[in-house]
Amino acid sequence: MSTAATPFPRSADRRSALDRAHIGDIHGAFGSVECYDTGPRLTRRRQLRTMLAILGPGLIVMAADKDAGTMSVFAQAGQEHGMELLWVLVVLAPLLYVSQEMAARLGAVTGTGHARLVLERFGRLWCAFSLTDLLILNFAILVTEFIGVALSLSYFGVSRYLAVPLAAAALIVVSATGNFRRWERAMYALILADVGVVALALIARPSPSTISSGLVPAVDHGAATPMLLLLIALIGTTLTPWQIFFQQSNVIDKRITSRWLAYERIDTAIGTAVFILAAGAILIACAAAYAHVGPRTGFTDAADIARGLDAHLGRAAGAIFAIALLNASMLGAAAVSLSSSYATSEVLGVKHSLHRSFTDARVFHGCFATFIVIAACTVLIPGAPLGVITTHVQALAGILLPCTLVLLLLLCNDAQLLGPLTNPRWLNVAGALAVATILGLSTMLTLTTIFPAVGLRDTLYVTLALLIAATAVIGLTMARAQPHERFDGGLTPWERKTWTSPMLERLAAPASSPARTLGLAMLRGYTTVMVVLLLARLVTLLAR
């Protein structure tokens, strides 16, 4: 086998782009890759430089995933259950990586954002469903991010009426400069302060034996119910639909093509590691801080955690947590809001790129600013029911996640879109299992949120029945998906690696199958029923 696959490096341009700004040189925070410079990277030094230029979407999405909601839930897990839930992170890591890798691959190969792909391959109805889901859920998450900003700065004695408007203004200014590199550098600055939480684990000095005990799932029968709920919340806040939409669009906007997919996978893996380390550090620090404190059910909010760390681990620990909370909330707000405006503009067909300034892409940046301003104003309404919103957001995210994951899996099996880069079979099996598990867990969370009086055992039975039905439906749907091996061969290894989708309008219509339609309709029906139940619960809570 020869080392150089082609005498001349092929252009890394895509065949399909929705916005011209998505084609061209990559300008990352730490370097550039020219679009003609696609030859093999033969030295370690060159590989590293390319890696530094590509690094970004995966790292940012994972750092933003450790947002205000995630920090609160992991802190609560540590405070109330010590190290007992540490093993969840070990389970979450592969789930997180696999779902984000699929989104990144779709972006790099098709050059088309997630919302637009759903429109093209599943039609207007499904696009309307997933876009409304995304926008509503993102709005709710955005509110929790601004609650995070308010809480973290209240720790330093800053009024929320000053903190929240300032944060909102900063976010709008940073995204509207029309310079991708500047935007990415701003995100990296936030990430840098954000991963400071890893220092918390060092300050806490847990013994290795307590950490290893937490890595083994243990069932304490007395505390099973609250622990299970927390477990579901941990998963619901770690895996959310906006991440898939954001990473896919951001990979495209960064101009990463299938040529750089290997680097983008490393980027996603680095991001996953950062998430796991940071989330683990929060859990460990809170477990250590509250290890010798009386009742362990006193979680109120993240600011209270910061004061608790201050009291039990020293002033530095409290400050580190509060600063990390501020940065994580800002990062989360930026990414969540961007996922909304990317998706909206893709579907509308207007310019959507961070390479464009406010005047050049008014709809894109206007959407971003509108989402930010409305969410910031909601937080500032005196007496707004923020606590109720925060707890219900996780339930809503859990309900809507399976729909997003199923669409993601189906898109990743579409040979028209991904050619030789469709999912291998093992990934489909793993994905279907993950969807079924999340479906089951989210059902339990929803049922217990809506009917707190019903016992856990009854909920478990209902969930198991649903789980079996769901697995059957997903299995049917997946069986009809086009298998990886069926793609026409005859491509050189280099051609397989750099394959890109044809122009969207030249794609053949997707093959429709009754099983697929039925499966999707059932999933949608289930989601709708769950959302209606949740809304009914929310309305009765607020009416009280």
Partner: protein, 125 residues
């Protein structure tokens, strides 16, 4: 409407920002279906339903491509009652289309056997 015959200052050196804007304008012209829509507008203003009839594409596809063209300031739209009427934005866009068409025709005339696109050949004859 600017006069297409108006003499222009030489474009070199082309500033980076202007090159970006130019590339955006060309991007709007860089899809077969959008070119078909623009060609149908070359003869004069049309409503959406007329465009659909002219180019024989689905309504949703036409609406989408018209939105892209409008976003890139290649066509302009005017409301007449309940209908939206689309026009090429100015004489420069018409001239751009004509020149590109002539360029491609000349290429195909010189090497017609290689220009495998039957539709293009039909339009050329």
């Amino acid at each position: 409407m600017p006069n297409p015959q108006r003499p222009l200052a030489p474009i070199t050196p082309l500033h980076q920002d202007v090159a970006e804007r130019l590339a955006d304008a060309m991007f709007a012209l860089a899809t077969p279906s959008r070119l078909q829509i623009l060609a149908s507008l070359r003869a004069g203003p049309l409503t959406v339903s007329q465009i659909i009839h002219e180019v024989g594409m689905e309504q949703s596809a036409v609406s989408h491509q018209l939105r892209v063209l409008r976003d890139h300031a290649v066509v302009s739209v005017e409301r007449r009652g309940r209908e939206r009427v689309y026009t090429l934005r100015d004489g420069d866009v018409s001239a751009l289309l004509d020149h590109a068409y002539r360029h491609v025709l000349a290429l195909m005339g010189g090497d017609a056997g290689d220009a495998g696109d039957a539709r293009a050949r039909r339009e050329a004859s």
